[in-house]
Symmetry: C2
């Protein structure tokens, strides 16, 4: 056995699976997890699938002090004939390595980890829920583990994959939400970590989110950190607008996460010959288009909700009601197509789904 | 006994203390640590001093995923007559609560924690090294512990204080360093978390630091994230310039950490009637002053080094040699005064030191 051969220790004490449709997001975990360690002299080593169990770390472990960490989020779905499908998982592992590069974390071998991930899903296949809208959420993450308070990259890391069965993001299907355009707080800026999926980007948004909730909004639309003018993302999703027949999404600026749902929607729209452009778009331009009655649809995109239609945008007291608070035709078609491909009900000419056999 | 009464469990297996002057920064820890937990229904509870031991967390603990965490850094010094002194520790606990506010973490009771910290230092007093330039580094930190992948503030937290004996930051006293003015990466921006001591601010700087090392610089000077023009901080220190007889330090902008050494230097300079101003200062302005021969001294300030003189600044190929690579008179006087007060050798008319009795 080499140091890079996968070892498997099965749990002898399996947990009960949650009731159908009563699955809260991200608080129930499966029986097993994947773990792999990094050391300078060994590289990534000892990949293993073990019972889900606590992590034990020195209180000086760098993850607790300097936030050197990256993560990913993707899903496995149960399709007809009890097939288990993942949606473009290789894109998540690619992005994990891009995030790691920004955070000075050594890269993983994407092909090897893909094999280990498939093995983990095979072992946990009974945990993939079947009801429409449900899935098994997959969370790979890497944490810096050196017990050292020097402000410098760690020499040791732990890579883990944990799994959580999740319910439908919106009960009863998708519905349009109210969004606050954020003017006070900043999510990310050029030269920062906005394009990386790293922990600090998320907790730094809590204050803005909390203020938005108090004002009756479900989330915030972030503007660029420099001019507070150009639209970046909504919450932790990418954002699309259909304006006068053309679909517009902010171009990747270095401070916007390169979403895999975003990428898939761009590919679908181009395939469908729907006019679509990635470019800078300011909130002023959007508001002017709104006043001319040209903003036809708006939606956020991400792994959690796939498509989250925006029914209302509030920008410093200026309210934009979009498509009469209803789901747009294109939003619905994109949602149906992507979720259909994800669940194996719609043909997948793009080879997006990977079946775990 | 109430839930807020301090309990103490002494270690039965004391570690050897490091040899004098052979103490690396932040990798040796003392025999005990302070721990306290937070739950919504109990607030902060069960303060305890226990043997230094690993932390056990669910792999879904929020600290690993969304970076909701804050920390502080301060020091205890051994003064004449074996007195143990801390330098303005109440300012660190104040700042911890300001950082927590930004990160949506519940505040601690500063007075109670100060008492617990003093008790911890009393128990570990033999760990406070005596050699000139050495001290006991104190690291309080709070981590989010809910095992939940929802992107929202945690409902439970752990507050810990760990202690590490540290050697002289610069062997043989202070000496001027080369600093690279950073043009590509950004540390922080208005509306972000730059003024908070939170993990994500530190690992996001590793790439820029690594590039600076490759170019022979010891650290980077950060410019503002918006115009890449205004000077913010050097590495994780605040920065001061003496220009034509006047001391200038960047005004706190929301993206600059409010350093306690910075604050103390401002108070000393005002007390000494040295002209000093907190204002915006651009790198262009600095370079113009340099070309006129008016930049007399430059130094970074922070808990680790107290004063770190800057001998050379490199800004996109433009090199500024400051005070002929020598320690400036004012830099030396500030260093001697502050380290003298910290070690009890210089009178402390400001009541900055707190003796642990």
């Amino acid at each position: 056995m080499t140091a890079n051969e996968l070892t498997i220790v099965k749990s002898t004490n399996l947990k009960p699976k949650p009731e159908k449709d009563q699955i809260p997001f991200g608080s129930t975990f499966t029986d097993h997890m994947f773990v792999m360690d990094y050391a300078e002299d060994k590289g990534w080593h000892e990949p293993r699938i073990v019972p889900y169990e606590p992590v034990t770390l020195d209180p000086a472990a760098m993850i607790f002090h300097y936030g050197q960490t990256v993560f990913e989020g993707l899903k496995a779905y149960r399709a007809d004939g009890d097939r288990i499908l993942m949606f473009r998982p290789e894109k998540n592992l690619e992005r994990l390595n891009r995030s790691s590069d920004r955070l000075s974390i050594p890269p993983i071998d994407e092909d090897e980890v893909m094999n280990h991930l498939e093995e983990l899903i095979r072992i946990e296949k009974d945990w993939v829920p079947a009801t429409d809208g449900t899935s098994l959420y997959i969370r790979p993450f890497i944490i810096a583990t050196d017990p050292n308070l020097a402000v410098a990259p760690s020499k040791t890391y732990k890579f883990m994959i944990i799994l959580s069965p999740v319910g439908s993001y919106f009960s009863g299907g998708i519905h349009p939400v109210k969004i606050k355009v954020e003017n006070e707080f900043t999510r990310a800026v050029k030269g920062g970590t906005g394009m990386a999926k790293t922990a600090g980007n998320y907790s730094s948004a809590y204050q803005a989110q909390s203020n938005a909730y108090k004002e009756g909004s479900a989330d915030v639309l972030w503007l660029d950190g420099i001019e507070k003018r150009y639209i970046e993302e909504v919450g932790s999703m990418n954002i699309f607008f259909k304006i006068n027949g053309e679909v517009v999404t902010p171009a990747l600026s270095g401070s916007i996460l390169k979403g895999i749902t975003r990428m898939s929607i761009l590919e679908l729209l181009r395939d469908w010959d729907v006019p679509v452009v990635e470019r800078k778009i300011s909130i002023d331009e959007l508001y002017e288009a709104y006043e001319r009655g040209e903003v036809e649809e708006a939606f956020g995109t991400g792994t959690a909700a796939v498509i989250s239609p925006v029914g209302e945008l509030n920008w410093q007291g200026k309210k934009m009601t979009i498509n009469n608070h209803e789901i747009g035709e294109l939003s619905q078609k994109l949602y149906d197509t992507i979720t259909g491909i994800q669940r194996g009900n719609v043909e997948d000419p793009y080879d997006w789904v990977v079946e775990v056999k």
